[in-house]
């Protein structure tokens, strides 16, 4: 056991706390008046298997009837008139003035160093966790 774990255990023992006789009696008295609840039994199947088939088929039939009825009542879609729109109005023209960035050697070196630092830190945390647990 390491130093910290031992200290934590010792310090926990320093917390003075006892279950008083009065509390013990109270608990005993409460327990006497209680019944252990029976384990819940799975609910028994009350409906026959064919019930689900019949209800599924009825549902499908009703859905099909509604779809047909709605389609029969719906008016024919009228061809809409579309106004020609000038392309220049909808698509704003943009002038891109971008320059390609070139990574310099020191910057790339920096990224590699950072990645290496990250890997080392990750490894250290993993080792810490494995060592403790």
């Amino acid at each position: 056991m390491d130093k910290l774990a031992k200290r934590l255990r010792d310090d926990a023992a320093q917390i003075e706390c006892t279950v008083s006789d009065e509390l013990n009696n109270r608990i005993e008295a409460s327990l006497q008046g209680i019944q252990v609840q029976a384990a819940q039994q799975p609910v028994a199947e009350t409906r026959p298997a064919w019930f689900w088939w019949v209800s599924s088929l009825t549902g499908v039939a009703v859905a099909a009837t509604i779809i047909v009825a709605i389609n029969l009542q719906a008016p024919e879609p009228q061809p809409g008139r579309t106004e020609p729109v000038a392309a220049g109005l909808t698509v704003p023209s943009m002038e891109w003035n971008a320059q390609s960035a070139v990574l310099t050697r020191p910057l790339r070196q920096e990224i590699e160093d950072l990645q290496s630092d990250l890997e080392k830190a990750e490894e250290a945390v993993k080792q810490d966790i494995e060592r403790l647990f």
Binding site: K3, L4, A5, R7, L8, R9, D11, A12, Q14, I15, E16, C17, T18, V19, L23, N24, R26, I27, E28, S30, L31, Q32, I34, Q35, V36, Q37, A38, A39, V125, D128, I129, L132, F133
Partner: protein, 182 residues
């Protein structure tokens, strides 16, 4: 069948005395744990009583694949949360720190107790994780089950807790050395 398993079986059949024997060894540890999650000593006692009553009432829902203590502590945490009433601060009191029931159970000479530091530094959940690990000797898996957290959350927070307390312990040691050598 172990003694604990035999007592559980008897308690499931309605023997309150078997249940009482079963939880006898857990009572003090549970009360000590509940003290850290209650606003007063009386609340902690009530939470202990409720925990044991609920454990007995719902004993049939206990899954023997888990340790009995894990299940008991889970119920204790739920009861403490249900019973917790935030302490009210009277006019004239500067803070509620002195009302901390944990503080009243630690002798004045032991005020450098690490659990008081932990109480100050950690959230309730991290504190509970540290307690279950270092006082109750629970495995990380059991702790994550009690706190309903993932195993990785538990591992990371135990590690952080350790580091924070280690730093505090080192500070204390350095201060003591300075005092000793003038």
């Amino acid at each position: 069948m172990s003694n604990e398993a035999a007592l559980i079986a008897a308690a499931k059949n309605g023997s309150a005395s078997a249940f009482s024997d079963l939880v006898r060894s857990y009572r003090e540890g549970l009360l000590r744990f509940l003290l850290t999650r209650s606003s007063s000593y009386a609340d902690a006692e009530d939470a202990l009583q409720d925990t044991l009553i609920n454990a007995y009432r719902y004993l049939n829902s206990y899954d023997p694949r888990w340790r009995f203590s894990t299940w008991l502590y889970r119920i204790a945490i739920n009861n403490a949360a249900k019973n917790y009433t935030p302490p009210t601060i009277e006019i004239g009191e500067l803070s509620d720190a002195e009302n901390d029931p944990l503080l009243h159970c630690i002798a004045a000479s032991e005020r450098s107790n690490l659990w008081l530091t932990a109480r100050r530094l950690f959230s309730d959940e991290v504190y509970a994780a540290m307690w279950l690990r270092y006082v109750e000797d629970m495995s990380v898996k059991d702790i994550s089950s009690v706190l309903e957290r993932s195993v990785s959350w538990t591992k990371v927070n135990l590690l952080r807790g350790r580091k924070a307390l280690d730093a505090d312990l080192n500070r204390e040691t350095a201060a003591n050395e300075r005092k000793a050598y003038g």
